[in-house]
């Protein structure tokens, strides 16, 4: 165990941001003062995180066309090329792509860099692929998107928790401890490890969660389980909701989803009967071309039961990436400015422009969303240069082969990364940057709690922070940018002041002293806001809005050529595109290779045995994987984890009309034994 000289920090991976101490000898111990894992929990990724610092695969020198060069040479080269491309093709010919794992400081600096130093509107990030649907639905219902608008420890007292499309046992294991006292209702096409802990598991066909939510809400109305008093006092739009549900009687929903009516009824009644109940959504229901409407349907369900904005109950989106919450608040999103402000809002533009010392009219408008941006690269009207920070789209974007082609058509690709990721390997210029324990910065976890990650070790020689890269390029383009995290955070505080995600009262010292501060926190003497909706929602009239929605089929349905659904997801021992975890030996031993999970009946029909190599193909590409045969999955569906190149060659880039989320969670494939 570490001694008093250990550094108090957080795990480098998921949005739970478990507290940990990193000792001088790089030993890891869980912290007991951080509520997310106060019981001393960590998963294998956390326990082995220190190997990220020592595994010998670090990039330690800038690379120009694959050759090591000095920092100044690489920065001069990139700045020169950017200036040239801008001069020839205009500012929107340069694009920026960020990540939900970046600290708040980096996310903020990146947004400012794009709009001020580059003058481009073409900036978005991989968080678009993560929680954008839930963010859009929360905003339209509550006027604000704070993933979980309550501390994670509130869940400990719940009687019933509905987990719609999330597999926390695999994605953030210590989270499950907060649910140990509750009856769990799990919605997932697979009997996941989380579903095995459930009191009731609803196993819908991929792409039909929206219908399921409508059917359950229909039953709540039909069985008169609505919290009438709450609906009258705290919501608007209930009558329209009622009419919108009349066409979603449970027997119809059963036929669409495959979930028996009596299961829907058990679920609806258990939620209604609970003294304390939560509805939580995850990527499983959100990553669809109708993800926003699906989340709205679950929010509506929660609202009919009077859950949101009440102590001991609520709706929440369980964010995935380490800074999935903070990363969407401070301006690396195509349509946003710091403080969770809309880039279309004149008052927001005026405020942020003043902090940045520019005129509001100089700020570009909204740019392309993540997939649209990638899809436009190297096209006649699209960007010709891309700066990539904390993301690996060749593995993580949908229709990945097409994305790789678009990236190949660029005049200039610049990647900032810790290791040579699949996308960095395609770059003209690679900057080796610091990670996690080598730098300081803030992260906002899934509860909206702003946390401090401290520098614990020196970075390897030759490695600089992303903030240094941003400041170095900005300086060469004629703009002064700070590169010290604390200074950047102070500026972020001012830029966020008065916005929805107001950080102005948060300081590094307060975070350290208070084990995190919940936003909004508008002043130094403000205690922070663990439960923002208790008195009122963030809508103009303070009421939550019912948003009536209708189910529709997936963008791509199965047919004779592609007769099986594909759904994708995560495994415990790997993280995101695997760039970090695929380089850590114990994690590779635990999860060595991509696999395709299929039902014994489907396997029998296709002549596939356990351990066979199978070829999975869709209209967009094909991938190979090892067959794992399990009756935990529906007969009509195959599952592949997305941490390796392959799964996302198959996925469908059909986009949600509101959130621009791609349809990662369902497409049509063919599965064959690879001969």
């Amino acid at each position: 165990m570490s001694g008093s000289d250990a550094t108090r920090t957080h795990c480098p991976y998921c949005a739970l941001q478990c507290g940990m101490e990193l000792g001088r000898e790089l030993s890891i111990a869980p912290r007991t003062d951080i509520p997310a894992n106060a019981s001393g929990a960590l998963c294998q990724k956390g326990w082995t995180a220190a190997e990220l610092l020592t595994n010998g695969e670090r990039l330690t020198t800038p690379l120009l066309h694959g050759e090591p060069v000095a920092w100044e040479v690489a920065l001069d080269h990139v700045a020169g090329r950017l200036s040239g491309i801008r001069a020839e093709h205009g500012p929107d010919a340069v694009a920026v792509f960020g990540g939900g794992g970046l600290t708040n400081e980096k996310a903020y600096a990146l947004g400012k860099f794009a709009r001020v130093a580059l003058g481009t509107g073409q900036i978005d990030y991989n968080g678009r692929f993560c929680m954008s649907s839930a963010a859009a639905a929360s905003t339209r219902a509550f006027g604000m998107d704070r993933g979980m608008p309550f501390p994670v420890t509130d869940l400990t007292g719940a009687d019933v928790v509905l987990l719609a499309g999330l597999n926390v046992a695999e994605t953030m294991p210590p989270f499950l401890r907060h649910l140990s006292g509750a009856r769990l209702i799990v919605i997932d096409p697979r009997r996941t490890r989380t579903a095995k802990e459930a009191w009731l598991h609803l196993q819908p066909a991929p792409g039909t969660d929206l219908a399921l939510a409508l059917g359950m809400t229909h039953l709540i109305l039909a069985d008169e389980l609505v919290d009438e008093e709450y609906v009258a006092a705290r919501t608007t739009g209930f009558e329209d909701l009622r009419t919108s549900l009349a066409g979603w009687w449970p027997e119809r929903v059963e036929r669409i989803t495959g979930v028996p009516v009596h299961h829907m009824r058990h679920a609806a009644r258990a939620l209604a009967a609970a003294g304390s109940a939560y509805v939580l959504t995850g990527r499983g229901v959100e990553q669809h071309a109708k993800g926003t409407d699906t989340v709205s349907a679950f929010v509506n369900l929660a609202l009919t039961l009077g859950l949101p904005g009440r102590h001991g109950s609520g709706y929440g989106c369980v964010t995935g990436q380490g800074n999935g919450q903070g990363g969407r608040e401070h301006g690396q999103k195509a349509d946003q400015l710091p403080g969770y402000r809309s880039i279309d809002d004149p008052a927001a533009r005026e405020h942020v422009a003043a902090v940045w010392g520019v005129r509001p009219g100089d700020l570009p408008g909204p740019g392309r969303s993540a997939y649209e941006l990638l899809d436009a690269l190297g096209t006649p009207r699209g960007p010709r240069a891309l700066l990539l920070f904390g993301s690996n789209p060749v593995v993580s974007a949908p229709a990945a082969e097409h994305v790789a082609e678009r990236i190949g058509a660029l005049d200039l690709l610049v990647a900032c990364d810790v290791v040579m990721s699949e996308t960095a390997a395609l770059a003209d210029v690679v900057f080796p940057v610091t990670q996690w324990a080598e730098e300081s910065g803030t992260m906002t976890n899934l509860e909206g709690r702003v946390l401090l990650r401290r520098r614990a070790v020196d970075p390897p020689p030759g490695v600089r922070s992303d903030l240094d890269v941003i400041a170095g390029l900005a300086g060469r383009l004629g703009h002064h940018f700070d590169s010290e995290p604390a200074a950047v955070f102070d500026e972020l505080r001012r830029a966020s002041a008065g916005g929805l995600a107001d950080y102005s009262g948060i300081t590094y010292e307060r975070i350290a002293g208070e084990t995190g501060v919940f936003w909004p926190c508008p002043s130094a003497d403000h205690p922070g806001t663990p439960r923002p909706f208790l008195d009122s929602f963030a809508t103009p009239d303070g009421r939550a809005r019912f948003v009536p929605v209708q189910h529709r089929p997936p963008a791509e349905e199965t047919d004779d050529d592609y007769p099986v659904h594909l759904t994708t997801g995560r495994v415990l021992a790997q993280y995101q595109s695997g760039a970090q975890t695929r380089r850590i030996a114990p994690l590779v031993r635990a999860a060595p290779e991509p696999y395709a999970e299929l039902h014994p009946d489907l396997a029998e029909q296709l002549g596939i045995a356990q351990g066979d190599v199978v070829r999975v193909s869709s209209r967009r590409g094909e991938a190979r994987a090892v067959a794992r045969i399990s009756d935990a999955i529906r007969r009509d569906t195959v599952f592949m984890p997305f941490h390796w190149e392959g799964a996302n060659r198959l996925t469908n880039p059909a986009l949600d009309p509101v959130s621009r989320m791609p349809e990662f969670k369902v497409c049509a494939v063919r599965v064959e034994r690879d001969s």
Partner: protein
């Protein structure tokens, strides 16, 4: 382009919204004979049973029509179609010109021509439903005539309101169009247990003040008589206009009648020799017709029929060809009448072509989707009816568990590693945890780790 829709029920109202979703500008006028906004007829059984209130079945908000620029004329029966002049005429004399016309006139309840039938209330519209509910409030005993889907739902609903109910049915078993003999009998037994007296093979001869007289003279007592004797497509407007009509208005794969500017959908339409009486086909037809009207290329190829009874404590699903015998198909059957359970699969060429599921069943969704999609039936037929029965048992007892079995998923710890660590001196869970990190993730393996440590200790005779 002016579109006129005759009929504002399930099919007509659906068509209007489908067209509007595809074409924001087309001029649309819809005529409904009933005076109220469209409602979900499927839910009327719930209204009758008291599990839904009438305002819960409305399909369209009052404000929708104005917001979507659709003219809705309610309480207006269209009495004539002038194909030469290109307009329709309502009972009150209004003339409405059209470029395209959709007939969605639905069906009427069949009222048998027997003496006193006017004393009985048919079960078809929301108005009928409200009359039945009002009458049930002061009735002592009810008789339902007709043991098809609607009659069964009505009888169950009235019994649920506390009324003694007799259900009269002409055929030898209930729902004979959807069920085989045994299923019909099991259904009857289930209903009997819920307070519905079943009389099959009987014919109502007259409705009297105190009940229904059967052929043969017997009086079945009841002061509320409900008719559920089936429906008849409303085709007379089409017939008068000279359109081709058999049992329904004959349409092609575009849902067009023999007049290319006139479509027919829903229960009044006959496609490929079939008149459908369920909502799912009507909505599929509405979507196709709307697409064609908006210039699309959709075609209607017929519908697969799934009947799902909506009656509290009676779970019944029937789909496809339920009555094929062993000589034409492979039939898998499980029957447990004492529990009200009957399950039947009808398989032909390796595909599920029919099924009956009576009694609560977790496989109803799976089978419905298998039938709908026409996918291959797995070799293990029993596994399809009883999921989990063929799964390999999980060895969770420490004795049976192989060393390679993973105990702690979060930290990838096997039983073998726990044993090795125990052999190296770790004699309790805390020591095993310190050595292996087992139990430090989600925490759900704690009992399993404890079990293994206890077992190892017992093996060695060490007391903990």
């Amino acid at each position: 382009m002016r579109l006129v829709v005759v009929g504002n029920g399930m099919a007509g109202s659906r068509l209007v919204s489908e067209v509007r979703a595809r074409d924001p500008h087309m001029r649309i006028a819809v005529f409904g004979a009933e005076p109220c906004r469209p409602y979900n007829r499927v839910l009327l059984s719930n209204v009758l049973a008291g599990s839904s209130r009438p305002e819960q079945v409305r399909l369209v908000d009052a404000s929708w029509y104005e917001a979507h620029d659709v003219e809705a004329v309610l309480g207006a029966t269209v009495t004539g179609i002038d194909r030469e002049g290109g307009h329709v005429v309502t009972a009150c004399g209004r003339r409405e010109p059209y470029d395209l016309l959709v007939l969605a006139t639905g069906s009427d309840a069949i009222v048998p021509p027997i003496p006193g039938v006017e004393r009985a209330i048919p079960f078809r519209t929301l108005g009928d439903c409200e009359r039945i509910v009002a009458a049930a409030g002061h009735a002592r005993r009810a008789v339902v005539v007709g043991g098809g889907l609607l009659g069964v739902e009505a009888a169950r609903g009235l019994a649920g309101r506390g009324l003694p109910v007799t259900l009269l049915h002409l055929a030898g078993h209930l729902m004979e169009r959807q069920l085989d003999v045994e299923a019909g009998e099991v259904l009857g037994e289930t209903l009997a247990g819920l307070g519905v007296e079943i009389r099959t093979g009987v014919s109502a001869e007259a409705v009297l003040e105190d009940g229904v007289r059967l052929a043969g003279g017997e009086l079945v007592e009841g002061d509320l008589v409900v008719l559920a004797c089936g429906v008849r497509p409303v085709t007379w407007p089409a017939e008068r206009a000279g359109l081709r009509v058999r049992r329904g208005v004959v349409v092609d794969d575009e849902l067009r009648t023999d007049d290319p500017s006139i479509f027919a959908i829903g229960e009044c339409a006959e496609h490929d020799g079939t008149v459908y009486g369920l909502v799912a086909p009507a909505w599929e037809q509405a979507a196709v017709a709307a697409d064609v009207i908006a210039g699309g290329k959709a075609r209607y190829r017929g519908s697969r029929l799934v009947t799902r009874l909506k009656a509290r404590s009676v779970e019944l699903a029937a789909m496809g060809e339920t009555q094929l015998g062993e000589e034409h198909a492979e039939v898998v059957r499980f029957s447990h009448r004492a529990r009200g359970t009957y399950r039947k699969l009808v398989i032909r060429d390796g595909r599920l072509v029919g099924a009956i599921l009576l009694g609560e069943s977790d496989v109803v969704g799976t089978l419905t989707q298998l039938y709908d999609r026409g996918g291959p039936v797995p070799g293990d037929r029993a596994g399809l009816l009883f999921p989990g029965s063929s799964a390999t048992p999980v060895a969770d007892s420490p004795t049976l568990m192989p060393d390679a079995a993973k105990v702690c998923q979060c930290n990838n710890v096997t039983k073998g590693q726990i044993r090795a660590c125990w052999e190296a001196g770790a004699r309790d869970v805390a020591a095993v945890t310190a050595a292996t990190r087992a139990t430090t993730g989600c925490g759900t393996c704690r009992d399993a780790v404890e079990g293994i440590v206890d077992w190892l200790c017992e093996q060695e005779g060490v007391s903990v």
